[in-house]
C-alpha cells in the first residue's frame, strides 16, 4: 500500500508543497493558479483526484506539507471518495497537516445531514473545516489566502509555531446543541 508519509523526505529551501485532492477536478485548478502566485514562498501544488497516488512518480514528488480534501457538498460521491482516500494517509498527517474544504454549502440541493456528517468527520480527525466559494475568482483568492496561512505553518516557515499548535486553534468543533435551551 502506498501510504503518504509527512516526514519521509527532506524539505527544500523556502518551499511549501500542498496536495489538493478533489473528485471533480474543477476547483483545484483555480486554487492552484492562485496559490502559485505567492511570492514570499515557493509554493508547489500537486493535484489529484483521489488517493492513493501512483507509485511511479513517487521519487519525483516532494514531501507534502499539507493535504487538502475539497468536497462538493451537493455530491455524495465527492464525500465518499474523500473518505475512502483518508486511509492512505499515515496518522502523522492528522496532527495539523490535513484540512477539509467544503464547497457549495449554501446550495439548494445539498442533502440534509451531509454537512453534519462532514463536520463529524472533521471533528473526529481534529482537522480544520473551511468553506469555499468556487464560482468566482474572488472566492478562489480568499480560499487560497486562508490555505496559505495554514500551509506556511505546516511547512515550518513560520518561527515559533508548528502545525500541531495551529491545529489546536483551527480545528473543527461541533456547535453546542441548539435544542438545549440556554435560558429557563
Amino acid at each position: 500500500m502506498s501510504l503518504l508519509k509527512p516526514f519521509s523526505k527532506l524539505p527544500d529551501l523556502n518551499t511549501a508543497n500542498i496536495l489538493l485532492v478533489e473528485n471533480e477536478e474543477q476547483f483545484q485548478q483555480n486554487l492552484a493558479n492562485t496559490l502559485v502566485e505567492e511570492t514570499a514562498v515557493t509554493v508547489t501544488v500537486r493535484l489529484a483526484k483521489s488517493l492513493p497516488l501512483p507509485m511511479e512518480n513517487d521519487e519525483s514528488r516532494p514531501r507534502i506539507d499539507l493535504v487538502v480534501f475539497i468536497i462538493n457538498l451537493t455530491s455524495d460521491k465527492s464525500f465518499e471518495s474523500a473518505k475512502a482516500s483518508l486511509k492512505y494517509l499515515v496518522p502523522g498527517y492528522f496532527l495539523g497537516k490535513v484540512c477539509f474544504m467544503a464547497t457549495n454549502a449554501r446550495h439548494a440541493s445539498v442533502r440534509t445531514g451531509c454537512l453534519d456528517a462532514l463536520r463529524q468527520l472533521a471533528v473526529s480527525l481534529h482537522c480544520p473545516l473551511l468553506f469555499a466559494e468556487d464560482q468566482t475568482p474572488e472566492g478562489a483568492a480568499s480560499s487560497a489566502r486562508r490555505l496559505l496561512t495554514i500551509l506556511k505553518v505546516a511547512s515550518g516557515l513560520v518561527p515559533n509555531t508548528t502545525a500541531l499548535y495551529l491545529s489546536n486553534l483551527t480545528r473543527c468543533t461541533m456547535p453546542p446543541d441548539i435544542d438545549q435551551p440556554s435560558f429557563d
Binding site: 496536495l19 473528485n23 471533480e24 477536478e25 492552484a32 493558479n33 502559485v36 502566485e37 515557493t42 509554493v43 508547489t44 501544488v45 500537486r46 493535484l47 489529484a48 483526484k49 497516488l53 501512483p54 512518480n57 514528488r61 460521491k77
Partner: protein, 316 residues
C-alpha cells in the same frame, strides 16, 4: 471542335430531355453567362442543338468538355428526377387523393410533403407528413406519420429508391440536423492511435511548472477513451435516450423479487439538452467507468436512441 466532339454533343442532346437542358448546362458552366442567355430554349430541340454546337465551336471546347457535360447530366438526372416521378406514381397507386409536393434543398436533401386524404375526403393539409431523404444515402427521416398510412408511405419509398426493404432505425428526436449528423457521422471522430500525445512543450511558464497533476496519465486515458467513443468537439444535439429493460430482477438481498419467473419490466430515460456531450463528460471525468459500457457507446456507434434490453443479448 473536331467531328468526334460534334457527334458526341449531338448524340447527348438527343438524350437530354428539354426540361432538364437549361439546368444541366448551367451546372456544366463551360459556356459563359451571355452565351447561355443567347440560347433560346423555346425553340425546337433540333434548333437548340445547332445553336449549341455553334457556341461550343466558338468557345473551342473539346471532347473532354463534352464528356464532362454527359457526366453531369447523368449524375443530375438519374437520382432526382427518377426518384420524384416514381415516388409520386407509387404513392398515388397505393392511395387515391394524396397531395404530394417534392422539393430539393441545396444540401442534397429531398423534402417531401404528403397530405393524406382517403377516397372520400380531400387531402388534409393541416396534418401533413414530412419526409426527408438524402439521395445516395439509405436514410429517410419521417415526421408525423399515422400508423394507418405508414405501410403505404414506406412501400412507396422503398420502391422509388430501389431498395429491397425498409426498417426502423430506432432513432428519434427533436432536431433533424442532430439526427442526421449522428447517423452520417458528420462530427469530429477520434481514431485510436498508438502514440496519442504530441511532444511536450518546452516553454512552460514558471508558475505552470509548479502545478503538477499527479494522476495525469489516468485522466488523459479517460479523456482519450471518452473521445474515441463519443467524438471530439461539438457533438450532435441528441436530446434523449430510452432504454426498455426486460430482464430478470437481480438483487441478492431481495428474495421476493428474485423468485419471480417473469422478467422485470422497467424503462430508463436519459434526457438532456445535449445528451452525447453529457455522456462524454461522464466518461472523461470518471463518473462512468472506462472503457465505456456498450449500453452507452451504442448510441453513437449504432446511431440509435431507443433500446430494448433482454437477458441474453443487449440491444435486441
Amino acid at each position: 471542335m473536331d467531328n468526334l466532339a460534334k457527334h458526341l454533343l449531338q448524340r447527348l442532346m438527343r438524350r437530354i430531355p428539354a426540361s432538364m437542358l437549361q439546368s444541366t448546362l448551367d451546372k456544366w458552366g463551360r459556356l459563359t453567362a451571355e452565351k447561355r442567355k443567347s440560347l433560346d430554349f423555346t425553340q425546337s430541340k433540333l434548333t437548340i442543338t445547332q445553336e449549341l454546337v455553334a457556341l461550343c465551336e466558338e468557345s473551342e471546347l473539346t471532347v473532354k468538355h463534352i464528356t464532362e457535360l454527359e457526366m453531369i447530366y447523368d449524375a443530375h438526372s438519374v437520382e432526382l428526377m427518377q426518384f420524384k416521378e416514381q415516388f409520386k406514381s407509387h404513392l398515388s397507386e397505393l392511395k387515391r387523393n394524396v397531395s404530394v409536393k417534392i422539393k430539393k434543398h441545396t444540401d442534397e436533401a429531398v423534402w417531401i410533403r404528403v397530405a393524406w386524404g382517403d377516397g372520400l375526403s380531400r387531402p388534409n393539409h393541416l396534418k401533413a407528413t414530412y419526409v426527408v431523404h438524402y439521395l445516395q444515402t439509405p436514410y429517410v427521416f419521417v415526421n408525423a406519420l399515422s400508423s394507418k398510412n405508414k405501410p403505404l408511405l414506406l412501400q412507396a419509398l422503398t420502391l422509388s429508391t430501389k431498395h429491397q426493404q425498409i426498417k426502423a432505425a430506432n432513432l428519434s428526436g427533436q432536431k433533424l440536423t442532430a439526427l442526421r449528423d449522428l447517423l452520417m457521422r458528420q462530427y469530429q471522430q477520434v481514431f485510436p492511435t498508438k502514440y496519442p500525445s504530441p511532444l511536450p512543450e518546452s516553454d512552460q511558464s514558471i508558475s505552470k511548472l509548479r502545478i503538477e497533476k499527479v494522476q495525469a496519465e489516468a485522466s488523459a486515458n479517460r479523456h482519450r477513451m471518452a473521445g474515441e467513443t463519443f467524438g471530439d468537439g461539438m457533438l450532435p444535439a441528441l436530446q434523449s435516450a430510452f432504454f426498455q429493460l426486460e430482464t430478470k430482477f437481480k438483487d441478492p438481498t431481495n428474495e421476493a423479487m428474485t423468485q419471480r419467473d417473469e422478467p422485470f419490466i422497467c424503462s430508463v430515460k436519459f434526457s438532456s439538452s445535449n445528451l452525447l456531450e453529457s455522456l462524454r463528460h461522464c466518461a472523461s471525468s470518471g463518473i462512468a467507468s472506462t472503457p465505456v459500457t456498450p449500453l452507452l457507446s451504442s448510441i453513437p456507434l449504432k446511431g440509435r436512441n431507443y433500446f430494448v434490453i433482454t437477458d441474453n443479448v443487449p440491444n435486441a
